[in-house]
Each structure stands twice: as C-alpha cells, then as structure tokens.
C-alpha cells in the first residue's frame, strides 16, 4: 500500500496495541522550544541578588554544595525556574483551548477577562478575608475565573456561541473588573494595597515549593484532561454540526474544555499574579512556526514555556543592569505590541470579508 502524501514529513508509529501519526516539524519544534525554555530557566539560576558561579550551581544540583548555596539554588531559585517553564506551558495550553473554541486568535483567556476575574476574586480574598493562604488564593482564582467565564458566556450567548461576540463581551467584562480591582485597592490600607499591587504586577519571584507543589498536582490533572479532550477540540474546529456527525459530544466536551482552560489561567494567576499575553501570543506564534493546521496544543504549550522563561531571564538581566522588573510587566509590554498588530490584521480581514 502506498502512503498518503500529507505535504509534510510524517512519522507513523505502530505497536501491537497502539498507533500514531506524528507531524515531524511540530514535534521537533515543540521539543526544541521546551529545551530552550529549560535552558533559559537554568541560566536564570545563576542570576539574582547573590551571584553564583557555574561551579556553585552544578554543585548544588548534584548535592555537593554547602548549605547556603544549595538553599539558594534548590529552595529559592529552583521553584521559580520550574514555575517559569510550567506556567508558560499552562498559559499556552489555555490560550490554545480558547482560541480553538472561539476560532479567533484574539480569543485568549487574558483578553476575554478570565485573568481579570481571577484577579478580582483573589483581591477580594486577600483584602476582605485577609487571607494569604496558598489554597484559599488558588481556590479564589479558579472560582473567580469560572464565574467570569460563566458571565461572559451567558452575555455572549445568542442562539449558539459566536467567537467574536464572546471576545467583545469579554473585553467589556474585563474592563469593568479592572475598575473594580482599582476601587478595592483604593479602599484597602497601605500594607494590603502594596501586597495586592505587587501581586497584581505578576511575578514569579515569590513562588516557593510549598506553593508550587499543589499547583503541580492540579496542573497534572488539567494536562491529562486536555490530552484526553484534544481529539474533541480538533473535531470542533470543523464546526459543531460536523463535530457531532463525527461522534463528538460537543456540549460536554466544550464545558470540560472551558473548565480546563479557565483552570490553566487561574492556577498561574493564583501563584504568580496575572501574567498577560503569553496565552494570547503563544498559540499563534507556534502555529506560524510549525505550519500546523489550526492551533496545536502541544506546540502552544512549548512556545508558552519558551516565552515565559525568556521573559523570566530578561527580568533577571534587567535586575542586574537596571532594577528589578516583574515578569508580568515584561510580558504585557512585549505582548501589547503583538496585540496591536493582531487587532490591525483582524480589522483588515473583517473589512475585507465585508466587501
């Protein structure tokens, strides 16, 4: 039997119980991006208030360093490095899910207000309940994200879900939540307001192992869920009617994907504060780089990792030569430019389609 020509290199694997068809370019680029992310995070281990040499870090990683150095590397800097890679991947996955569901490159959780919703809930918990506990903040972020998702969804629903309406409603809800956040902070006392303010800038530097372990556990559940739902997501790209005729349970799959997508952003928001634009940019950049059909969740995750780890490294470099800069501010500055380009392109294709 001759093999189908897919127009790109395909690796077909087959065992007694399994089979697969892997797009070589997507797989290679994803692997390279993850490697790049890991190396950025590794380089960042050397940088900080207490500079370390290559010998120090390798000694700490192999367990031969003195207590002080190994505490800096393993207890302080390692969780931050891990979170740069993991959170970037989570944001990329969240962006891929929502851009795929809305069929629009603008439809990412940070643009449609789920970030802002998670943030508002956390601010409420921190200020009103006075709680700084990891679990209560994580719970608030996920709850706030889900409630916002529900509100946006209900307002955007008119005889079926249309991606562009969801985005416009989401931007509106996001703006409203932003003003609520500002109001809450002006009402708080100075210490609390500082706390919330720092947290709101989005920074990985406060991530500790005790905070990261529950996030890792939940992330694992989310990632497994997304892998299981990836075929449904792919089939829904063809429209709901086609997806149903391909045997996909569209309603249930959409709800599960929505929850998983909100969870990715909420987890990151809970641990590090809002980190914008990774979710927006990663899936599209990955798509252009891999030439894949639609949005690839794997490539988006890899690109998200690479972007956040790069921003994390950049924040350390900036700290060394200028002053400390939270990673969230870097992603927003770089991502803002990307959003402007995207909006201009979107406006062009829309006016083109109307003609």
């Amino acid at each position: 039997m001759t093999l189908v020509d897919f127009g790109y290199r395909v690796l077909r694997t087959r065992t007694a119980v399994s089979s697969s068809r892997i797009a070589m370019r997507t797989a290679t680029i994803s692997a390279a991006l993850f490697l790049l992310a890991a190396s950025f995070a590794l380089v960042a281990l050397f940088l900080g208030d207490y500079p370390l040499t290559l010998g120090d870090v390798t000694a700490a990683l192999t367990g031969r360093a003195d207590d002080f150095v190994s505490m800096i590397v393993l207890q302080w800097r390692m969780p931050v490095a891990v979170s740069a890679v993991l959170f970037g991947a989570l944001l990329g996955i969240g962006g891929a899910i929502f851009q795929s569901l809305t069929r629009n490159p603008l439809g990412s959780p940070d643009v449609i207000g789920f970030d802002a919703g998670a943030y508002t809930a956390v601010v409420l918990v921190m200020l009103a309940a006075g709680s700084q506990h990891t679990w209560s903040i994580a719970g608030a972020a996920i709850g706030g994200g889900l409630v916002t998702a529900l509100v946006v969804y209900v307002f955007a629903y008119r005889r079926g879900m249309q991606g562009f309406r969801l985005i416009v409603v989401g931007i509106g809800v996001s703006a409203m939540l932003g003003s609520i956040n500002s109001y809450l902070i002006t009402r708080a006392d100075l210490d609390d307001a500082m706390q919330v303010g720092f947290w709101g800038a989005g920074s990985l530097s406060r991530v500790t192992w005790s905070m990261l372990v529950p996030v890792l556990a939940i992330s694992l559940v989310v990632i497994v869920t997304v892998i299981a739902l990836a075929p449904a997501l792919r089939s829904m790209e063809l429209g709901d009617d086609m997806a149903v005729s391909h045997g996909t349970r569209v309603g249930a799959a959409r709800v599960a994907l929505l929850i998983a997508g909100v969870a990715t952003t909420a987890l990151v928001t809970a641990a590090a504060g809002p980190i914008g634009f990774i979710a927006l940019a990663a899936p599209q950049l990955a798509r252009r780089l891999t030439g894949s059909a639609g949005v690839s969740v794997l490539a988006a995750a890899a690109m998200g990792s690479a972007l956040l780890a790069a921003a994390h490294l950049l924040s350390h470099v900036l700290a060394a030569v200028f002053r400390p800069m939270p990673v969230g501010l870097i992603t927003v500055c770089v991502g803002g430019v990307y959003l402007i380009i995207l909006l201009i392109r979107e406006a062009r294709t829309r006016s083109g389609a109307a003609r």
């Binding site: 039997m1 001759t2 093999l3 189908v4 020509d5 897919f6 127009g7 790109y8 077909r12 087959r14 119980v17 399994s18 089979s19 697969s20 068809r21 069929r103 005889r159 892998i227 299981a228 075929p231 792919r234 089939s235 790209e237 063809l238 429209g239 709901d240 009617d241 086609m242 149903v244 005729s245 391909h246 045997g247 996909t248 349970r249 798509r287 030439g291 894949s292 059909a293 639609g294 949005v295």
Partner: protein
Amino acid sequence: MNAPVSLPLRAEAVTIGYDRATIAEDLTVGIPEGSFTAIIGPNGCGKSTLLRAFARVLKPSAGRILLEGKSIHAVPTKELARTIGLLPQTSLAPEGIRVADLVARGRSPYQSLIQQWRPSDEQAVQEALAATRLEDLSGRLVDELSGGQRQRVWIAMLLAQQTPFMLLDEPTTFLDIAHQYELMELLRGLHGEGKTVVTVLHDLNQAARYASHIIVMSAGAVMAAGSPHEVLTAELVEDVFGLRSIVIPDPVTGTPMVVPLDPRGLVVDLGDSTSAAAQ
C-alpha cells in the same frame, strides 16, 4: 410511497425546530434502502432541518428518528458516526490545513487516544483521495484550492468516514454549473458503489436527473415523495414553489425537466398558461 420498499432511515412523527421556532411538526418520512434521495422545496421549508435531524445534529422535541428500527439517540455516538455521515451547508476548515489532513479528520470515529492512525485509516484516506481525484493535491493547502476542488475535499472527508449513509446539505450551492455537474456525477458514482446518498438540492432538474427518490417539502410538511417521474409535475411545482411551469422530458436523459413559464406572460395573463407557454 405505496411500493413495499424498506426505509432503513426514517423520521416518525417528529417535531423539529430551533429554540422557540418549530420548523416541522408531526413529520413522517423515510429514506429508501440504497436510494439516491433528493430533498427539495422552497427556502425555509425545513429541508436542512430534516437533514440535520437525520444526522442527529438536531434532536426532535417529539417523535423519533429510526435507523434500522432503532432510535438514533439510543445508538452510541461513535457507532452512529460510522453509519451516518453529514456534510453541512457551511463547513469550517482550520487555518493552514492541508488536503490530506482535512480528509483524515473523517477518520475520527474510528480513532482513540491509543489507536490514532492504523493502516485502515491510511487506506481509507487513500481511497477517498482517489475517488475524488485529489491524490495529486493531497499535500496542498485547502485555502489555495478552487471552490470546486475544496468541495471535493469535503466529499473526500465524508468518504473517509466510510458511512453507508451520506447526508449532504446543498453541496452544489457555491459552485459554477460545470462543477455542479461534476459533483453530481461524483455522487452518482458513489451511489453506484452502494452508498445511500441523501442530499438537499435547489435545482429541480438536477434532482430529477440524478435522484432515484425525491422528497418534496413545503412549510415543514412533506408534499410528495417518490420517483422523479411520479413527483415532478407542473401542478406540484406551482403548489410548492408558486411557479408556473411546464414539465417536459429532459432531451438528454428523459427525466422530467421543469421549464418555468415566462413570468411577464404570467403578470399579464395569470389564468392562461398555454398562451404563456406559447410565447
């Protein structure tokens, strides 16, 4: 429907519609075994709605859709997806997808997380590409194809699904006349190979030429069903479409051909169809 044909796919007293609007009430109609069925009728008569109900995309609020005597809502989703395939009126291709990739999407009812690409998948895609003469285009971007080629890609995807029933919603709508007939010939070929083809069509003469069975709908009800010769009469066309016409044998195929009367003649003299026909 007085002939004793079996109707493996049929609607029994179904009420179908969207949110609040009911499109059809208490509808009973069937698809004959191995037929090439065309569903025709004016805009908004419920033909697409009926097709979507047959494909289980739309759940009737009353009544049942039966497949071999069993409610399709009781059949496991993947199993049904291996029996009934649907090509909706508008289909969305993901940005940057290539022909073979899109055709391979039709295999999803056969795949699972651990069995993603068996030799049977490869073979089905290969055969679908061959049947639609797309082998040479398999690596091309779908966005770069012409309208006629793109529609063939969608048909190929439907073929890769390997369903005995192929449901198509106005597959010729956006094609020029040559590509319309090319597509109808393709469907005729597939019907000849044993597929049961059900398609919503606008062109009555195409329906008469290609279909073995025609279902005529109007305002959510079935006005007539049967062979083109039985169904397509001047009276029916006037009743259903409000268009006065004569029906003559198609000079090429001998199937009924609807020729509308001159509408200017109709305005002047609505009562006399013979004088209008004579103009």
